[in-house]
């Protein structure tokens, strides 16, 4: 399955208003660009070039400065993510306990590679750096829910929870 490459930016007025508030709050602060990018990603889910342009103008920086920072850190994404973000921990403890097999099984089940999003937009798959739950290795996160002591056999049941009810499943 191919990844959607051309996504049209669909920002709303409400989102833009929120972003402007964030920019105003950090404008005078030294090093305010990072917190602004972090909150912008929370507002839009990702950092398309349109959002980066607004940030650059708002903070009085060049677009290349903003783009340089946005592409440096792995937390920032320039393409949209799925409604449910799966991230498989590939830290050492998880790797030693077979996290690579979990990741491979997920790629197969979802028909996408790491960094991609399914065509229906329900799941995106990423590998993440250590989330510090090494006692439960191997571990993956779906949105904010952590699943520990994983086996390949459990994956179908876990994914099912998220397929049926949009953006739900889990404790909170």
């Amino acid at each position: 399955m191919a990844k959607k490459t051309q996504d049209v930016f669909k920002g709303t007025i409400a989102q833009e208003r929120k972003l402007k508030e964030v920019i105003a709050a950090h404008k005078e602060q030294p090093g305010g660009l990072m917190p602004v990018l972090q909150q912008a990603q929370e507002i839009y889910g990702y950092l398309p070039i349109e959002v980066q342009t607004m940030i650059a103008e708002g903070l009085g920086l060049s677009l290349s400065d903003v783009y340089g920072v946005a592409t440096f850190y792995s937390q920032f994404s320039l393409s949209p993510k799925g409604e449910n973000r799966i991230s498989v921990c590939l830290g050492t403890a998880c790797y030693v306990k077979g996290a690579d097999k979990i990741l491979a099984a997920l790629e197969e089940k979802l028909g996408i590679k790491v960094g991609e999003c399914t065509d229906d937009g329900i799941f995106s798959l990423d590998s993440t750096r250590c989330i510090g739950a090494c006692g439960l290795a191997p571990v993956m996160m779906i949105n904010d829910d952590v699943y520990g002591k994983l086996t390949v056999e459990q994956l179908d049941d876990i994914l099912k929870k998220y397929k049926s009810s949009k953006k739900s499943g889990g404790d909170e």
Binding site: G31, M34, V69, G91, T92, V96, C130, A133
Partner: protein, 632 residues
Amino acid sequence: MAMTVEELNKIKEKNKNLVLVRTLVREQGEKLAKETGYKKQVLVCGGTGCTSSGCKAVVKAFEDSIKKNGLEKEILLVKTGCFGLCALGPVVIVYPEGCFYSNATPEHVERIVKEHLMGGKIVKEYLYKETVKENNEIISLGETNFYKKQMRVALRNCGVIDPENIEEYIARDGYQALVKVLKTMKPDDVIKVISDSGLRGRGGGGFPTGKKWSFAKQEKNPVKYVCCNADEGDPGAFMDRSVLEGDPHSIIEAMAIAGYTIGAGQGYVYIRAEYPIAVKRLQIAIDQARAYGLLGENILGLGFNFDIEIRLGAGAFVCGEETALIASIEGKRGEPKPRPPFPAVQGLLGKPTVLNNVETYANIAQIILKGSEWFSSIGTEKSKGTKVFALGGKITNVGLVEIPMGTTLREIVEEIGGGIPNGKKFKAAQTGGPSGGCIPACHIDTPIDYDNLIELGSMMGSGGLIILDEDTCMVDIAKFYLDFTVEESCGKCTPCRIGTRRLNQLLEKIIEGKGEPEDLEKIEELSMHMKNTSLCALGQSAPNPVLSTMKYFKDEYVTHITDKKCPAGVCKALLSYEIEPSLCKGCTLCMRNCPVGAISGQVKEPHVIDKDKCIKCGLCQRNCKFNAIVKR
């Protein structure tokens, strides 16, 4: 509004016994418990490990049950930081008995409340099995093998206090070190105590902390900064996270002390965004400290101003390097700069800056209160105090341990760690993460300290300690770390950007079965150039995992290259699955399970694997009931 020292002491007195109960066992604890008004205290771990195991539901069940039975006045429920035994989560400790319930569920809670909290009878079958002796005697967590050899300095409050309640920290002598410093010590006195204690940076480098502070103090600049490195990027390490989750005020207090010492009024904590619980608790702690007048203007009415702000990282390993971290706080790409100038001279926004790791700060208040002699009496000649390790990998007791420097690896693996599971043999321990190396079984009796680890070709690092068993392929592990550094190299300098990639390609060649004998020499030469010419520690240390595995497990590399075999049976290209005809019953299970249809055969007759089709997923072997499938 500034609180006075008298008011601080009042809070301490008021809460002292309540918290003290949690550090005593049996008779002593029971006597004291009566004075506190609470018959029982229930402590539930709320760290990341236990949260992932479902501790929120356990806490809720306790809340509901306590309310339902009208026990609010008799039983105190406390959500703490990490106890250390993350694999047993959710964990619950009940005081004054000090008994330790593991793998708790909401269903267990019902019985614990009824039988134990109300009936006074401990529910033995829910206890952690190591705490029930053969004669049915129950021991406390502190008496188990896991805890006996540990010594808790940096983690002293983790799992003891409620990290979201500043008064519990104050009850444990919290902010008394700051009072002592502000009232009775000059900046040079503080530097002398820290220097004499022998404390070295716990982030990995091991630079003497007192020296770092004195460099920053000497600078004549009216604006200086104190920073805390909580960008714990080393995969498999979670010490800093646990300190911030379990005892955030100890970091705030230490940063304020550092601020007073060097003459700084502002602090920044740079923390990974991947640690949401730690970020939340630290923010709560900062807000409470401000509300109590322990941060802000005129702290404790003693004329000192200091405040702290949190900055979130965004997922870049290189930001653990000090100059890169500073660039990131400044809102730039986290790329390192050549040193000198060191941050102590020219750091954040060009001003003199002290930057220490979380665990380093966690030791400061204790050193101030108990003195440099106390601290330097712990540990080895050149490595003083304790070290926290995140024990992980193929080990029974996965979790967080704090040991005096000089403890041997054998003690950690066999006694504290409870040995290797499934009867497997210990092969090596990996320390220092992507910058470190491995300690093979033949050096298991080496006392662990900064210098011994360097001598063995590894390093202390921040404290990740991954145990590897005989099923681990050392070439594969080296490749794992190289994959990591390739990904995390910031790209600023050529030796690291291209060197890590070339090194990775050489390893890939070996793992794919295409290695040639001269590749080993190429690896060594390239590694030497990277060590000598990379800009920062990331590139300089990136070859370490390869060099150290080559040093101790050269035969494994050679077997991969000349025999085209992986002795541990990990490297896929070098192994094949076969069905042993004498053991195969022809049950057809493997044939039905095989995702690529590589297995064929008739019912009740031995099956065969087509090696050309086989993708070596191992599913057939895992499911075979007759152990008829072998990996060669």
